[in-house]
């Protein structure tokens, strides 16, 4: 190979490398990064939201009755709550920074409206929960019993307020209200903060999120209790935990159904395309034709069907609470939106929304079924059960969490192609100044860090569970300083 050939070859290599880098699309990579980090962040949040309430109730029962088993429960599940809370905080910072880092044009466009609930979350709720959680952790033995109990209830209030403000911010992306467009600055400006905070989507998403989180926290309690009951240890406190968790799981699950129904109605009203995409309903249908398919098999584009199992009237009922309602189909909505917003594809990825919606409902329903069977099987102090029942209880604990994850995937993917419904498309929101390489680096960094975190977190939870409740209570009697070390 002579020198000229080498130069040409080198040129080709540089050229190909350049193409590969240019092929890294900041939009696609930013979407993957936001999706990945958000789903990951929201693996921890539901347990925080649900468990903080359950721990507060357990501690109240202890303060009221002075029974040691309630103290043991408070300590054990409190510890699980804290391991998890730390993960939620550190991954939460990434969420806030990403709006500016990866979605700066989105931030410029909606910051005037969207920033307000986010900043309120910080000033009103987040400071609150972080402060009181610190007091709760290190306050054992330093604060009086009643003041200490108050700190966990205030933490609960803070956590739930946090959730509300974040959901209000998200609701603006699903159904923008309380704004007007400033043509000069080319952005949405807030004109009614009350409307933003009472967005019909936020009002319905909040109870749905809270109840689903309680269901998941209940499932975790059941799994922990099952782990010990299978080994016939700590039976007193763990039987109580089992029943408590089963009830939390069942009531949370039933609440999720009721609130999900409300959210469905709000969705039909505000984002009919999302409801049509949930059912992959191409043609507008009325009454018995507005059926809900439990399962279907169709051509890849979903426009024609080979096989399905359908419940007539159900989609009409879910969408309108009447049997002869009309549900708009994808084709009509596409035509409508093209007319309203200009030419373009306004359908989300149909197979994804269709199946995410079904998995959400199916996984949630299975979780409720497990809770009901569990309550019956363990009534009146029954703990002599075969091992497989305990194993089932352990393996059933992520059901609610998986349902929550696919539910959010449905909510956010069903909003596409919009980043703010009807106002801005996702493709227009990405930062203009960042390169594909920047985002590739951050995507790799976050994936690696989060991967390591997942392994460490899971190991720590397992260890805390295996150690059982009694160790933690023994600490209580030593110098309170010793306890500070435990965390």
């Amino acid at each position: 190979m002579d020198a000229q050939e080498r130069v040409i070859q080198k040129g080709v290599v540089v050229h190909i490398a350049g193409h590969m880098l240019a092929g890294l699309d900041p939009l696609t990579l930013s979407r993957w990064q936001f999706g990945l980090t958000t789903v990951y962040h929201f693996l921890f949040v539901p347990l925080t939201i649900g468990m903080v309430l359950l721990v507060a109730i357990m501690q109240t029962m202890w303060v009221r009755t002075n029974e040691e088993k309630f103290l043991k429960m408070t300590k054990l599940f409190g510890k699980i709550f804290l391991i998890n809370f730390a993960m939620g905080v550190v991954t939460g910072i990434v969420q806030e920074f990403q709006f500016g880092m990866n979605w700066s044009d989105y931030s410029r466009f909606v910051g005037d409206v969207f920033g307000a609930p986010l900043a309120m979350e910080g000033l009103l709720a987040f400071f609150f929960e972080a402060t009181f959680i610190g007091l709760w952790i290190f306050g054992w033995g330093r604060l009086s019993k009643k003041v200490h109990l108050m700190t966990i209830w205030v933490t609960t209030l803070g956590v739930w307020m946090s959730a509300y403000f974040i959901l209000a911010a998200n609701a603006f992306m699903q159904h923008p209200v309380g704004y007007q467009i400033n043509e000069v600055k080319n952005r949405a400006e807030l004109v009614d903060i009350g409307a933003v905070l009472t967005n019909i989507v936020a009002l319905n998403q909040f109870p749905h999120t809270i109840t689903a989180s309680i269901m998941f926290a209940g499932g975790v309690m059941v799994a922990v209790a099952a782990y010990h009951l299978k080994r016939k240890q700590y039976v007193d406190s763990m039987y109580k935990s089992l029943r408590f968790g089963l009830w939390a799981s069942l009531l949370g699950g039933l609440g999720t159904i009721v609130s999900g129904d409300g959210l469905g109605l709000a969705m039909v009203q505000t984002q009919p395309m999302k409801m049509a995409a949930a059912e992959a309903l191409y043609k507008t249908s009325t009454g018995a034709d507005a059926s809900f398919s439990l399962f279907s098999w169709g051509t890849p584009d979903g426009s024609s069907e080979i096989f399905s199992v359908r419940v007539p009237y159900l989609l009409s009922f879910l969408s309108t609470h009447t049997l002869n309602g009309t549900v708009e189909g994808l084709n009509d909505l596409q035509a409508q939106y093209s007319h309203l917003y200009g030419p373009g594809n306004y359908m989300p990825i149909i197979w994804l929304t269709y199946w995410a919606f079904r998995w959400m409902i199916g996984l949630g329903a299975l979780g409720i079924l497990v809770a009901i069977v569990g309550l019956i099987a363990t009534r009146k102090g029954r703990v002599q059960l075969p091992n497989w029942t305990w194993n089932t209880a352990i393996w059933a604990s992520p059901l609610a969490l998986l349902a929550i994850s696919v539910g959010w995937t449905f909510t956010e993917m069903g909003r596409q192609p919009w980043i703010v419904f009807s106002l801005m498309k996702t493709a227009d929101g990405v930062s203009p100044g960042i390169t594909g390489l920047d985002v590739l680096i951050s995507l790799i960094v976050f994936t690696l860090i989060y991967g390591v975190l997942a392994v460490v977190e899971f190991g720590l939870l397992r260890k805390a569970v295996a150690a059982g409740p009694d160790v933690l209570v023994a600490d209580q009697n030593e110098d309170s300083e010793a306890l500070a070390v435990a965390y």
């Binding site: 920074f97 500016g100 880092m101 987040f126 972080a130 807030l190 004109v191 930062s431 100044g433 920047d438």
Partner: protein
């Protein structure tokens, strides 16, 4: 006073609060290899900030959210422009936070050692990079007519930016050491004091050069007063450390950070992110801000909440005011 000016002050206040509070956490984290001779020492050091570090870290989250709500253009241009620098800060903060939580939960010395290094690096890196970032904000960065940053990570690593980074690195290190003298007893306290003396010299020289450079480039009367106060209180803090008045010394360090960061914000005003490409492309408190309605709503929230936040955070510090010593670490724990 205009709402835009009030929000410039509130954003400044939140970042100052963050640097004052997380500043000593960074210092304590960086001190581990210097002061932590064994596991018990390191546990004592970490326990000085154990109950409060994540509370301190919440200030940056709130500062970021307040920035987003009040100056969306500033937030958008800054965060997308400083992409890789912020990524490094985020990665470091995550590593540090996780290490605090998890170092005591493993059984081996190797496990703890790994996490201790994560704490040290996870403290030093943000301490350095926040200074680099703020120095560049004051100096100005290449922004085009759409206010989009056109530089890269290395654009930020200019002499003024790097000096700013070294100032925050050494300032937070000294701040943390003096915090340790305030929160501990015995041998470790004496060693922290001696190290703070040495670190104090370096900090004073670096900080004085940086602040004078800033003042020459962006002179204002308020900037001059704040710079003078920062320099005087930094020297006084070192003197108080010499005569073993750690409470006074720490208070003076807090005052130094408040006035020094205040001087930076004074140098910045009325810009929020100057453009080095063309002064006409600069972001200012006027063209980067939210609408008057949003600023009004957020002012009410801030005015009502900030006193509460200060009150209950002070209460937290009061509850955990006790000193930490080797005696308070039970045998067998790490």
């Amino acid at each position: 006073m205009q709402l835009n000016e009030i929000w410039f002050l509130i954003v400044g206040f939140l970042f100052i609060g963050y640097f004052v509070l997380d500043g000593f956490d960074f210092g304590v984290g960086m001190s581990l290899p210097f002061l932590g001779k064994d596991d018990t020492d390191r546990r004592v050091l970490i326990n000085t900030i154990g109950p409060v570090w994540d509370l301190n870290e919440t200030w940056v989250i709130v500062a970021g959210a307040a920035l987003f709500a009040s100056f969306p253009e500033w937030y958008a241009s800054l965060f997308s422009g400083f992409y890789l620098a912020l990524l490094l800060i985020l990665a470091a903060l995550i590593a540090r936070g996780v290490a605090f939580e998890y170092r005591g939960k493993g059984d081996t010395a190797k496990w703890r050692k790994t996490f201790d290094w994560m704490i040290t690096i996870g403290s030093a890196l943000p301490a350095l990079l926040w200074g680099v970032a703020f120095a560049n904000i004051v100096q100005g960065v290449p922004l085009n007519a759409e206010h989009v940053y056109t530089g890269n990570l290395f654009t930020l690593l200019n002499p003024y930016g790097l000096l700013g980074g070294l100032v925050t690195l050494t300032l937070f290190f000294t701040h943390g050491l003096i915090f340790i003298t305030l929160k501990t007893e015995g041998d470790i306290k004496d060693r922290a004091r001696e190290l703070a003396k040495k670190a104090g010299y370096v900090t004073t020289v670096l900080a004085a050069s940086f602040l004078v450079w800033t003042l020459i480039a962006h002179f204002s009367v308020i900037g001059f007063i704040l710079t003078a106060l920062a320099a005087l209180s930094l020297i006084a803090a070192q003197a108080a450390n010499f005569i073993k008045r750690e409470g006074l010394s720490f208070t003076l360090m807090v005052f130094t950070i408040i006035t020094a960061v205040g001087a930076l914000f004074a140098a910045l005003f009325p810009n929020v992110l100057p453009s080095s490409t063309n002064a006409a492309f600069s972001l200012t408190i006027q063209n980067a801000s939210s609408s008057q309605y949003t600023l009004t709503v957020m002012t009410w929230v801030a005015v009502i909440m900030i006193p509460f936040v200060l009150a209950y955070q002070t209460w937290t510090y009061w509850v955990f005011r006790k000193r930490v010593s080797r005696k308070s670490i039970p045998a067998g724990s790490h």
